[in-house]
């Protein structure tokens, strides 16, 4: 797997030379839009992450997780993963901290540690994505996009946690 990325880069650069393009100036052209992009994305990033940190440190996320965990148990997800599932759609850095905590507490190879890996590995920071993707447009109303994304991810997590118990 680790060979794939270097191979892709070599192929692309060589191909561009063969096609008489200048990969050096093309790269500059492309990367020059990076900072501009971040200028637009940053306000969303900082707004979401402040809320997530307050949510975690106030202990509200833990309390909410306590309320939901019986329902989680019902669908076969260990109660210890509830906070991870709750924070995951909101913040990548925040949920990574929760995951690290789970590994430290229960061990990376424990059933809970493996189930947590599946939950983290098969999901995305949905709220962050939805803010960032539309940051350059006027779109405000997303319809049912976020509920659909959350339901699908959660259903995937249930199936994944079930399978990690067997494999």
């Amino acid at each position: 797997m680790s060979y794939i990325i270097p191979l892709i880069f070599i192929t692309v650069i060589l191909l561009s030379v063969i096609r008489k393009q200048d990969p050096y100036s093309l790269f500059i052209q492309g990367s020059s839009s990076s900072l501009k992009l971040m200028m637009k994305v940053f306000p969303y990033l900082v707004t979401v992450m402040i809320a997530v940190e307050v949510f975690r440190i106030s202990g509200v996320s833990g309390t909410v997780a306590g309320f939901i965990s019986p329902a989680m148990n019902f669908v076969g997800i260990p109660a210890e993963l509830t906070e991870l599932i709750l924070i995951r759609p909101l913040s990548g850095a925040g949920s990574l901290a929760v995951l690290e905590n789970i590994f430290a507490t229960y061990g990376a190879d424990s059933d809970i540690g493996r189930a947590a890996s599946v939950v983290y590995g098969s999901s995305e920071t949905i709220f962050y994505i939805s803010a960032v993707y539309f940051s350059q447009t006027k779109v405000k109303r997303l319809g049912f996009a976020i509920p659909i994304a959350l339901i699908s991810t959660f259903a995937g997590s249930i199936v994944g946690v079930f399978f990690v118990g067997i494999i």
């Binding site: 990367s31 839009s33 900082v46 992450m49 940190e53 590994f103 539309f134 779109v139 405000k140």
Partner: protein, 217 residues
């Protein structure tokens, strides 16, 4: 998002106010700091991948990839522009390889080409958002390396289950968006019909108007 954010802020800050008010500013500052640190990482990642993708685009490789994947992309994103499909193809390839940092700028560009200036997200935008969220991923590198650093005996042993999970969530997500799209279409048709009948009524009243005016005179 509006509601979620406001709720999170209000409930959390009220709780902090009761339990330990001095932590409020600490927490908010830490969140802002995290965002700055993350944005620096992302600027670097965006620069790397946007540069790389510029080569892909101008060399015609992006076009080639888009052609190969076009049956799938056309099914998922009907009536999309060629340019949009190119960015979506790159976004999907990056996601598959587990390069989230590379996938995001491509998705932003794809959404940009789909933009009509409307405040309502189109069904194709919703599809892109859902597909990115369910993240069909072959190698969740972050988790693997984190497990390795916590002394796991085989850090990648959860990957099959994780792939099953993303396949399930992706298929379910696509199905739900397609159903939602059908529902939206129906609603639009109804609205159009309503609009037509209203027009007919208006025309009728217009026609009748001169008569009544005439009568009064």
């Amino acid at each position: 998002m509006k509601i979620v954010w406001t709720l999170m802020m209000v409930v959390s800050i009220v709780t902090l106010l009761i339990l330990n008010p001095q932590n409020t500013v600490v927490a908010m500052t830490r969140g802002a700091n995290d965002a700055v640190r993350l944005s620096m990482t992302l600027v670097a990642l965006y620069a790397l991948w946007l540069g790389f993708f510029q080569i892909l685009e101008k060399t015609g490789i992006a076009n080639f990839l888009a052609k190969i994947l076009s049956p799938i992309v056309k099914f998922l994103f009907p009536k999309s522009k060629k340019e949009t499909r190119q960015y979506i193809t790159l976004n999907m390839s990056a996601n598959l390889l587990g390069l989230g940092g590379a996938a995001t700028p491509m998705a932003i560009k794809a959404v940009g080409t789909m933009d009509t200036g409307s405040t309502r997200a189109s069904i194709n935008m919703i599809m892109l958002l859902v597909i990115s969220s369910t993240s069909l991923q072959l190698m969740p590198m972050t988790v693997i390396s984190l497990r390795a650093s916590h002394g796991s005996a085989s850090p990648a042993d959860f990957v099959p289950a994780s792939i099953i999970a993303t396949v399930v969530s992706t298929i379910l997500g696509i199905t739900l968006v397609k159903i939602y799209g059908l529902f939206l279409k129906k609603r639009e048709k109804k609205k159009e019909e309503l609009g037509k009948s209203e027009l007919i009524i208006k025309e009728k009243t217009k026609k009748e108007l001169p008569l009544s005016v005439f009568k009064r005179q």
